[in-house]
């Protein structure tokens, strides 16, 4: 059983006009096996929250805490956080020229488990995971995210989620830019990781569409850098119908 606690998190970024505060006291707790959806308007700070948990150097935590089973995540480097069991499926995964998917995945797996995976087993796992996500086998010879379509990038993120087996995953708009078929395939991947490894999920999205395939236990409305309201799956339906007007007006 793993617990990720985000407490009173305040985060700023450095801009040309000086420091800009984006997160203003976020409180969230995610446990193994739970699925949390975070919904909110553009620019409300959802990606900032995701990056801050993963430890992106651009974001400065000015107040608050992030704890993983009581351990201070803010003290950990980016790779230590991953090795502690955190995973971020990125909204815009970056290209890494000259580094093949196969080399990348094997290096990551080795780093996370502390030893190189047994070749035969690894090849099998990789083939199965790619088959499940309907990815061509020659995909592994391509360079990481280079020339990938939007859908391929997202499948590649979920492929990593399934192979690297984290304890808690943050999925930043994994659904955006996917057609219905791809959305189903990707959702199945998340559901498999959830069912097989007891993954805890924080799912960032704009749309309820994905919530038809991945059933959230909790829904959080994110506005102006903090959680404005929380509820169950029914809250998502309400947001879909009513939008965020109610919250954004209140926040101003």
């Amino acid at each position: 059983m793993t617990t990720l606690e985000i407490k009173n998190l305040h985060v700023s970024v450095e801009t040309d006009q000086g420091s800009k505060q984006i997160l203003r006291g976020v409180d969230l707790t995610i446990k193994s096996g739970e699925i949390h959806a975070v919904m909110g308007p553009n620019g409300s700070g959802k990606s900032t929250l995701a990056y801050s948990v993963a430890g992106h150097p651009k974001y400065e935590v000015t107040d608050g805490q992030i704890l993983l089973d009581g351990e201070d995540v803010l003290e950990m480097s980016v790779d230590e956080r991953a090795r502690a069991g955190l995973f971020l499926a990125m909204q815009y995964p970056v290209e890494i020229p000259g580094v093949s998917v196969s080399n990348f995945l094997r290096t990551a797996k080795t780093a996370l488990s502390g030893e190189a995976p047994k070749l035969r087993e690894w090849v099998g796992d990789l083939r199965d995971a790619m088959g499940n996500l309907r990815m061509d086998s020659d995909f592994t010879e391509r360079n990481v995210n280079e020339g990938f379509s939007g859908g391929e990038k997202k499948r590649h993120e979920i492929l990593q989620l399934e192979l690297l087996k984290p304890k808690i995953a943050i999925l930043d708009e994994t659904d955006s830019g996917l057609d219905v078929d791809a959305l189903k395939v990707v959702s199945e991947g998340v559901n498999r990781a959830h069912a097989d490894n007891g993954l805890g999920v924080l799912l960032i999205t704009h749309y309820t569409r994905i919530l038809r395939y991945i059933k959230p236990d909790f829904v959080h409305v994110f506005v102006a850098g903090k959680v404005a309201e929380q509820g169950g799956a029914e809250l998502a339906e309400r947001l879909e119908n009513e939008g965020y007007d109610r919250y954004t007006k209140a926040a101003v």
């Binding site: 790779d79 290209e95 890494i96 020229p97 990551a108």
Partner: protein
Amino acid sequence: MAAQHGLEAHSHGNVPIQTRSERPRSTSVSDFPELSNRQEIWRYVPLDKLSGLDKEVMGELTESEVTAELASGTSMRWVDSTDPLVGSAGLPEERVSAAAWTNASKTLVIEVEAESETTDASFLKIAPNTAEAKALHVVVSVGNHAKATIALDHLGQGVLGENVEIVLGDGAQLNFVTLQEWESGSTHVSTQFSKLGRDSSLKHVVVTMGGDLVRVVPAVSLSSAGAEVNMYGVYLAGSGNYFEHRPYVDHIAENCVSNVAYKGALQGAGAHTVWVGDVLIRESAVGTSTYELNRNLLLTDGARADSVPNLEIETGKIEGAGHASASGRFDDEQLFYLMSRGIDEDQAKKLVVRGFLSEVIQKIGIESIEQRLISAIEAELEKAGA
């Protein structure tokens, strides 16, 4: 026809390449002025590190300092430099090349028999192991329709002024590699002239990993129709290294193809690399296709990469011509992505640098050199803990 954009933008401040083709050629040192940073071709070079290579008199490399491992169909011999083979691909255009030329009384000839074909590489180790300035002249001659791979490996400590002539017969295919793996305290200026026969194809690879001052100037003259040249370069410069590469392609005949791609990584204070890529497409070079590229990755502060592509086109009747040049810092987003998957910073950097250089490394086509290069890169990154 592809874009000629950026032509003016890149050419200003430099001597037009066309005048390069009109430079005086001579084997006599006194025909050229003393070196100065005011001359375009020496403008970046730390002249105090030349260690005597611009002097009228110097020693010459002897047979014992060159060891060879030759593939079938390839032979090697030393001849007097009065041999008609000498000078068949080009003549010196500046003082250091002229000094190396006149001081080499013997010439090393590497000959590939016409129509012989092998995938095995011939390796020549050039290891002077002295701080005294020395001259060397090499002629590589590949017979008609022959196919060969030849690597010149420069290592140890040395001060070497070198001219390399490469002559390809009709339909010949040569994979030529020049490696500069000098220890510190070394200076090496290599001027290379290539002349390509009809429908021949040259792959010219430059790998520079060590030396206080290394300057490689490979010129390729495409004077027979249908010839193709691919010029690749990889370099890794650390503190105390000055590496300069000046590839030059002279398109004279019709329907020739040239492709130039150099990539370098720099780390450490004072690491300095210079790349000047000249491509001249003469009026007679109808149907030319050319592309040149140079990219540099700066791993730390205090390193400097100069990159100047020059493309000069005298005919509108070409297939395509383009160039690209960029030097940039380590991409934090790439490191973040890799580290967010549990890969530690050192390893993430290695992956990024290897990936960056691999596009060119993969083109070398000699497995043992590719592997050595990758290990050398890793060792270098390890050393500085970049």
